[in-house]
């Protein structure tokens, strides 16, 4: 029994953190614990959630992708760039039919992911550096496309998925849920998913077992870019505008969600279940701090401290488990 508990610590500890946070905000704020607010929290974490799905794959392989927010930004801007804008938008864009705009935007983020993958697997650049460069490249492409202006219109489908509702539920939340579910199924039930865990757990051993390690690494990097691209398009629809630096905060949020949830930065352990809990911790924390009466400048610090505490628990749990 103790062994079983110890094995489950990676999920139990973040889950306990989440319960404590929810309990705390429910007790200290009258407006926090309501169905409406729960829907708010879910909507607020949806864009991060879609990015975090791809990032979970990457971190499980013991790599990192720092270009997720930049790729989201480029893709969001690209889909607007290929959509007919109102007359007052001063961007020399190329209006195309909606499906073509979406396909081109997706192709764009796929290509950026492919460049990342080639740099990491073929040339051998560490993912930390390669994606740092891609972060800059993405920012550069975004800047060239909008040139400091703001675009508003996106294709109808993007608009529906990013800002519409079905039966009162925001489509954005449904898309995020679908991505999380798909990610979980791939990681748990497919051969590729097993390879992701094995490559992250011991890359050399995976190679000696005949696993095509470079293909797996390349694939997770491309998956990460595609998830970011979708998040970027829907995010633009959700925010109602496409502009430079729109997604800057999402890089740290997505990494934090994956790691706070209990997925190991050293690879091989964790999964989408952990990421979901991490997303909820982050969402509850961000949302809850707005519901209680404290100095709004202090909130930033408190948020940092709570994240630190969650990470300490994560590392501690890892040690308890590894000493088994």
């Amino acid at each position: 029994m103790t062994v079983f508990l110890r094995n489950q610590m990676r999920i139990i500890a973040p889950f306990a953190t989440l319960i404590v946070l929810v309990a705390f905000f429910s007790l200290t704020s009258r407006s926090f614990a309501s169905l409406d607010n729960a829907a708010n929290v879910l909507t607020q974490i949806s864009v991060t959630g879609i990015i975090a799905v791809g990032l979970t794959f990457v971190i499980l392989c013991a790599e990192i992708d720092l270009s997720v927010a930049a790729i989201a930004n480029v893709t969001g801007i690209a889909v607007a760039y290929f959509t007919l804008q109102e007359g007052y938008v001063n961007i020399a864009n190329v209006p195309l039919p909606g499906f073509a705009a979406i396909l081109l935007a997706l192709l764009g983020c796929f290509m950026l992911g492919l460049v990342n993958a080639a740099g990491i697997t073929l040339i051998g650049i560490p993912s930390f550096i390669m994606t740092l460069a891609m972060m800059q490249i993405g920012a550069g492409i975004s800047a060239l496309l909008v040139r400091g202006q703001i675009a508003y219109a996106v294709p109808d489908l993007v608009s529906l998925l990013g800002a519409g509702r079905v039966a009162g539920i925001p489509c954005l939340v449904l898309v995020a849920a679908a991505f999380l579910l798909a990610g979980h199924l791939v990681l748990t039930y497919t051969r590729f998913g097993r390879y992701v865990y094995m490559v992250g757990g011991n890359r050399e051993a995976a190679e000696y077992a005949g696993v095509n390690v470079r293909l797996v690494l390349g694939a997770v990097i491309v998956i990460s870019a595609m998830c970011s691209g979708v998040a970027g398009m829907l995010g633009v629809a959700h925010f109602g505008s496409a502009q430079q630096n729109e997604f800057d905060g999402y890089l740290l949020d997505a990494i934090a969600a994956v790691v706070v949830g209990g997925t190991s930065l050293f690879g091989g352990r964790g999964g989408i279940g952990n990421t979901i809990i991490g997303l909820l911790i982050l969402g509850v924390l961000n949302n809850g701090l707005d519901h209680i009466q404290i100095d709004s400048f202090l909130k930033i610090l408190i948020r940092g401290l709570i994240l630190l505490a969650a990470l300490i628990i994560n590392v501690y749990v890892q040690k308890v488990r590894d000493s088994a």
Binding site: R191, R194, N202, A205, A206, Y208, A209, V211, G268, A324
Partner: protein
């Protein structure tokens, strides 16, 4: 009290258990001044645990320990070192990017007004190394030296830091015979200065050659302590494993008759294979149903050759063929598809320690079990079959691999290639660091595979390994094949001479 001075190290009634499993039971151990004391036993027999207690790595144990008659109880390696006990581990803890002198003085550099006194350090290191008979430039970068020399320098550092008792764990496993001789000379010098040495090794010849006294362990108990001059290898093996093992004993002592099969079909053909400075112009034929042994000293290119055959390293020149079809593997996945399997020398780099046994076994056959989806029940069934046929302990497939003993881990590593047998199995150092019993199991498994018609290549720097497995032997020297033994009788001495 007796006239004699108390021994430098004395242990009485030492017991130690890990989570309810006894690792040591009521062990008495005495180390005398100016003595080299050999320690032998199977893996898990308790010798490493005892040495870790002495070196302060295990603070929790029952029993009494005394240094020069004074009772002590170490709780950290630092305390043990302060009392004059140093340990040289199998995996060296030198800093490759620092100079020899800096390594000798590690953590205690001489300073002048707070600044490192480089001249004093270099001169001091040179003097100290010369005293031990080690000839090396103290300004050389550690990483640029041969492994045997690095080991001597680590020994020098331990002695320099004041150790009067030095524990050496498997010091000869990575050394060539001339390096072993040099180590022995240094050890004799240390003994002459009145200091004591504990020599732990699986290489019984080495233990008998250097030790004054030999102690054998089995199942956590001390079985016997004898003067080295009055015993031989057979006696030691019997004490270590407790029953007769004629087949293995042969490869240790006598000459082995090779049985090659010159008419069987060639499964793996290698022509003029070269890779950088590691090896050049290697040509080999591996036939179905035979074990080809490749023997050579450390650094002769064996490790690189094994990796090149499996597509982990790329060849600069030459060709490989499987069943006559040319193969130029650019990745391990490609080599694997062509029917080559590989088990590297380090268990750490071929297994997933935090994953269960069945996932370790299924990793290389997942593509055959299901193209897209996993089928865990099939995986477990296959794993259960292997666990049973290889008698892996404990006999469950859900056990985390890291909790298995070394020998059982090696069986798991072999098992992952047994479900759909490959055409060629390349084994690098298949029995390194294993006890006699586990070695015998591995020999039996490999011979079983050969009898099913697999072509097996065994590369090893241990003559016993090659002799106990091979039907035909080639000897590699400085990256080239220099000798082939086939259809004749060959002994360890002949192999050593050829290399």
């Amino acid at each position: 009290m007796t006239e004699e001075a108390a021994p430098p190290l004395e242990l009485r009634g030492i017991s130690k258990s890990f989570g309810g499993v006894a690792a040591l039971r009521d062990v008495d151990f005495v180390l005398r001044a100016g003595e080299i004391h050999g320690l032998v036993g199977e893996n898990g027999a308790g010798k490493s645990t005892l040495m870790k207690i002495i070196a302060g790595l295990h603070g929790q144990y029952d029993g009494r320990m005394a240094i020069d008659g004074r009772p002590v109880h170490f709780r950290s390696p630092r305390e043990a070192l302060a009392a004059g006990i140093g340990m040289v581990h199998q995996e060296l803890s030198v800093v490759p990017d620092l100079t020899v002198a800096e390594n000798v003085y590690l953590g205690q550099q001489p300073t002048k007004a707070g600044i490192v006194d480089w001249r004093a350090m270099v001169d001091g290191a040179r003097r100290h190394l010369a005293d031990l008979g080690i000839d090396v430039d103290p300004r050389a970068r550690m990483g640029s030296l041969a492994i045997g020399l690095q080991q001597l320098i680590e020994l020098a550092r331990v002695l320099f830091s004041g150790a009067r008792i030095v524990i050496l764990d498997e010091p000869t496993s990575a050394l060539s015979p001339p390096e072993v001789q040099r180590l022995f000379e240094v050890l004799r010098g240390v003994r002459a200065s009145g200091r004591s040495i504990v020599f732990i090794s699986h290489f019984l010849d080495d233990v008998l050659a250097i030790s004054d006294t030999v102690t054998t362990f089995r199942n956590g108990r001390l079985i016997a302590t004898e003067a080295a001059g009055s015993i031989d290898k057979g006696w030691l093996i019997q004490r270590m494993i407790g029953r007769g093992h004629e087949e293995l004993e042969g490869s240790y002592t006598g000459a082995i008759a090779l049985h090659s099969k010159p008419d069987a079909a060639v499964v793996l053909g290698v022509r003029g294979l070269s890779a950088g400075r590691a090896f050049a112009d290697v040509s080999l034929d591996v036939r179905a149903g035979e074990v080809l042994g490749i023997y050579g000293f450390m650094g002769c290119g064996l490790i690189e050759l094994a990796r090149t055959l499996f597509g982990k390293l790329r060849a600069d020149a030459g060709t490989m063929s499987i069943d006559g079809k040319t193969l130029r593997p650019r990745s391990t996945a490609e080599a694997c598809r062509a029917g080559i399997a590989f088990v590297p020398e380090s268990r750490r780099s071929m297994l997933f320690h935090t994953e269960p046994v069945y996932k370790n076994m299924s990793i290389s056959v997942l593509g055959r079990i299901g193209r897209l989806l996993l089928r865990p029940s099939v995986e477990k069934d296959i794993a259960r079959r292997h666990v049973q046929s290889l008698s892996i302990r404990p006999p469950t497939v859900e056990t985390l691999l890291g909790s298995l003993s070394g020998g059982n881990q090696q069986k798991v590593a072999l098992a992952k290639w047994l479900t759909w047998p490959p055409k060629v199995l390349v084994l690098s150092e298949p029995t390194r660091g294993m006890d006699v019993g586990a070695k015998e199991d591995v020999v039996r498994i490999v011979k079983g595979l050969r009898d099913q018609g697999m072509g097996v290549v065994v590369l090893s720097t241990e003559p016993e390994t090659v002799l106990s497995l091979a039907d035909r032997i080639v000897v590699m020297k400085k990256g080239r094949i220099v000798r082939e033994f086939a259809g004749e009788t060959v002994s360890k001495d002949q192999l050593l001479e050829a290399a």
